[in-house]
Symmetry: C2
Subunit: 373 residues, 2 copies
C-alpha cells in the first residue's frame, strides 16, 4: 500500500494534537501462539453463545429495534452478582469506553490526575485527548505502589489493580487510605485483571476487589471488563461500580456522546456470562493454576518473575536481552509483549496460555537459553 | 422508585453542565404499534442472522479474542458497495458515535458550527458536550434549506439529508454549492435516511447521496447508519465516507477514546447486510411504497403531509391539535413522536410501519376525526 499523504488543513487542533492508543497487534495466522494481549486461553461460558443464539432464533426480527439504552437487564445481573443497587452499576462498550467517560466526568478539572508511571498506556492517551494534566508517580524500585507518594493536590487518581504490566496487587487497606486522604477526588481502581488475584493467606479480607469499599467511600469508582476473566474481548463490554452519584455522572456523559453503546447481542451475551457463576469460578481458577505452574517453569529457567495477580506474568531474563528474546520467539510464531520504555525494557509481559501454549513457550525459551539468547 | 439525591461534588464542570440527549422511548409492551423512533418495519436480511450464527458455531471460542480494531472486512464491503477506496470509509458504534467523533475532529474550532434550527436534536447536545458554539440557521417557511442562509464564517456545517423530522431533501447541487463556498470548513451530510429518498423525475442525477461528491470535494463528509434502511438499530453500526484525510482524523480520534468500538458479531452481521444487495433494494422499495400509500391516506384524512424522502412522514392535522392527537393515539397503543418545540409543535412525526400498522393508524385517526380530535 502506498503511503497516504495526510492533509490536516480541515482538522480541529484537538485532532491534530492527538496521541492515539496503539493496541497490541492482532495477527491472524494459523498456529500462532498469541501471548501478547492478555486474552483468556479458555472460551467464554457456553451459555453466552446460547443466549445470543436465542436472540437470533426467537427475535432476529428484533434487531431492527433499538436496544435498551441503559442495558437494564445486564446491570441488574451485575448488581445481583455483587449485591449492589442497580444505580451503583454502569456498563459501556468495553472498559476503554468506560474509562474515557470517567476521565471526562471526574478528572477534567484544574488540578492534575495522578497515575503510576508504569501502568496501562491508555491513561496518558485519555488525559491528552481531554486536555487533562497527568502527573505520573514513580513506582517504587520493586514496582510496588506507595500511597504516600500520592499526597499532592489532584482531581483524581487512577490505578490499575492488579497493575499492568507488573501484575502486582495493591491492598484494600492502601486503597482505603488513598480514598480517605483524597476525599474530594475520585479514586478510580481499574480492576481489569482482579478476578485472577489471590487473597494472601495472611489477609483478613474476604475479597481483593475494591467493590467491597464503595458503600464506605463515595469517592471510589471501580472499573472492570468482560474481556479478560470472562473471555469476551470480542464482545466489547466493560463496567463501573460506585456511589450512585458517580454512576449518574457517567450515565449523563454517555448520553452526551452516544446513547446506545451496547448492542442487543452484547447485552444478552454479557448477561448470560454473569449468570453462569460456576463456569466463571472454574475457568478463573484454571488460569490461576496455569499462571502458577508457568511461573515455576520460568523461575526454573532462571527468569525473574514478579508475583502476578493477573493472567499474565512480567518477567526478566537473568541473562540475555528481553527484546532479543521477544524477536526470537516471534520467529517461532510465539508473540509476547515487549515495551520499549525506561525501567521496563528488560522485561517481557507474557499472557498465561493454555497448558499446551505454555509448554510451547517454555520449550522455546529452553532452546533459546541453550543458544544463550 | 424513590428519587435519588444526586451529589455533584466530585463531578467535573463538564459533567455538571451537560445537556444529555433523550432518545425516543422504547416501551416493551405487546401489541404496541411503535411508530416513534423510525425503525424499519421489516426485519434485517436473513443473511445477517446467518452470519452471526456462523461466528457462534464455527468460532464461538474466538469471542475470547479482540475484534479487528478497524473493522477491515466491513469497511472493505462498504468500499466495494460504493466504489470507494477503503481509506475513504470509517465505521463506528452507531452513527451517534461517529457524529460525536466528527464534532471533536472537525468542529472544535474558534468559529461556530452551523446547523438548521429544526433538525436532529443530538447536534446541539454534541456541540454542548465539546464546548462548540452552534449557530442554528432557520429553515425557510416551507421547512426547506437555503444554502445562501449559511454564508457566514464557520468551522463547519452539519445538515441531515433528508432532514429530520421534516423528511425534506436537499439537492446535490445545493450541497456542492455549500462545499464550494466553504472550502475551508467540513460540510457533514448526515444521510441516516438517504436510502428512502427518491430521485425526482426531472433530475439529471443518478443518485441522491452526497457520497457521489466526495471525490470532487475534500471537505464533504457523509455519515450513514445501519439502523434505518438496513433494519439493524439493535446492532449499533454507523459509518462515514469522505476524503482519506478526513477519515484519518476520525480514526485517530476513535483511537484516542476507544480502540475497538465494534464487536465481532456486529462486524459480521453488518458485513452480511452490505453484501445482500437484493434484499436491501427490495425492502427499501417496500418502505418507499408504504410511505406513499400512507401519505395518500393521510391526505385523504385532511392531514397536511410534507413530501417525505425518509421512512417517516411529518404531518399536521388540518383541524385539531397535534399533541392531543398523539395522546389519543397512545391510549390506543399507537406511539408517534410529538416535539414540543417552536414552529413544529403542531406537527407529528410518524414512522412508516407495515401495511397492517399503517392501517391501524389510519383507522384510529379516522375515529379521532369523527370525534373532532
Amino acid at each position: 500500500m502506498s503511503e497516504l499523504k495526510i492533509d490536516t488543513r480541515l482538522w480541529s487542533s484537538k485532532a491534530r494534537n492527538l496521541s492515539p492508543y496503539t493496541p497490541g497487534e492482532q495477527p491472524q495466522h494459523d498456529n500462532l501462539c498469541k501471548l501478547n494481549t492478555n486474552e483468556n486461553p479458555f472460551p467464554p461460558s457456553p451459555k453466552v453463545g446460547e443466549a445470543i443464539a436465542k436472540v437470533l432464533e426467537r427475535q432476529a426480527d428484533d434487531l431492527r429495534l433499538y436496544p435498551a439504552p441503559e442495558s437494564d437487564e445486564l446491570r441488574n445481573a451485575l448488581a445481583g452478582l455483587y449485591n449492589l443497587d442497580v444505580n451503583q452499576v454502569f456498563v459501556g462498550n468495553g472498559s476503554d469506553e468506560v474509562l474515557a467517560l470517567v476521565f471526562a466526568s471526574f478528572f477534567l478539572k484544574e488540578r492534575p490526575v495522578l497515575a503510576p508511571d508504569i501502568s496501562y498506556s491508555f491513561y496518558p492517551v485519555y488525559a491528552h485527548t481531554f486536555g487533562i494534566e497527568l502527573v505520573q508517580i514513580a513506582l517504587d524500585a520493586d514496582f510496588s505502589i506507595s500511597p504516600d507518594a500520592y499526597r499532592q493536590p489532584c482531581s483524581g487518581i487512577i490505578i490499575a489493580n492488579p497493575n499492568a504490566p507488573t501484575g502486582l496487587l495493591l491492598s484494600l487497606a492502601d486503597i482505603s487510605k488513598l480514598a480517605s486522604e483524597h476525599s474530594n477526588s475520585v479514586i478510580v481502581i481499574d480492576e481489569a485483571y482482579i478476578d485472577f488475584a489471590q487473597i494472601e493467606a495472611d489477609s483478613s479480607d474476604a475479597t481483593v476487589s475494591a467493590i467491597s469499599l464503595i458503600n464506605d467511600y463515595d469517592n471510589i469508582l471501580v472499573t472492570q471488563t468482560f474481556s479478560k476473566s470472562r473471555s469476551l474481548a470480542g464482545l466489547r463490554v466493560g463496567m463501573a461500580f460506585g456511589n450512585a452519584s458517580l454512576i449518574e455522572a457517567l450515565t449523563r456523559m454517555k448520553n452526551s456522546f452516544n446513547s446506545y453503546p451496547l448492542d442487543k447481542l452484547a447485552q444478552a451475551g454479557a448477561t448470560a456470562s454473569v449468570l453462569d457463576v460456576e463456569y466463571f469460578e472454574q475457568t478463573r481458577q484454571q488460569v490461576i493454576d496455569l499462571r502458577e505452574s508457568l511461573t515455576a517453569d520460568l523461575i526454573a529457567l532462571d527468569y525473574k518473575v514478579l508475583p502476578s495477580h493477573a493472567n499474565f506474568v512480567f518477567v526478566r531474563p537473568k541473562e540475555g536481552n528481553a527484546s532479543a528474546v521477544a524477536s526470537a520467539l516471534r520467529e517461532q510464531g510465539i508473540i509476547v509483549r515487549h515495551f520499549d520504555k525506561p525501567r521496563i525494557n528488560e522485561y517481557l509481559r507474557i499472557t498465561v496460555g493454555t497448558a499446551e501454549q505454555n509448554e510451547r513457550l517454555i520449550n522455546a525459551l529452553t532452546t533459546l537459553r541453550a543458544m544463550s539468547i
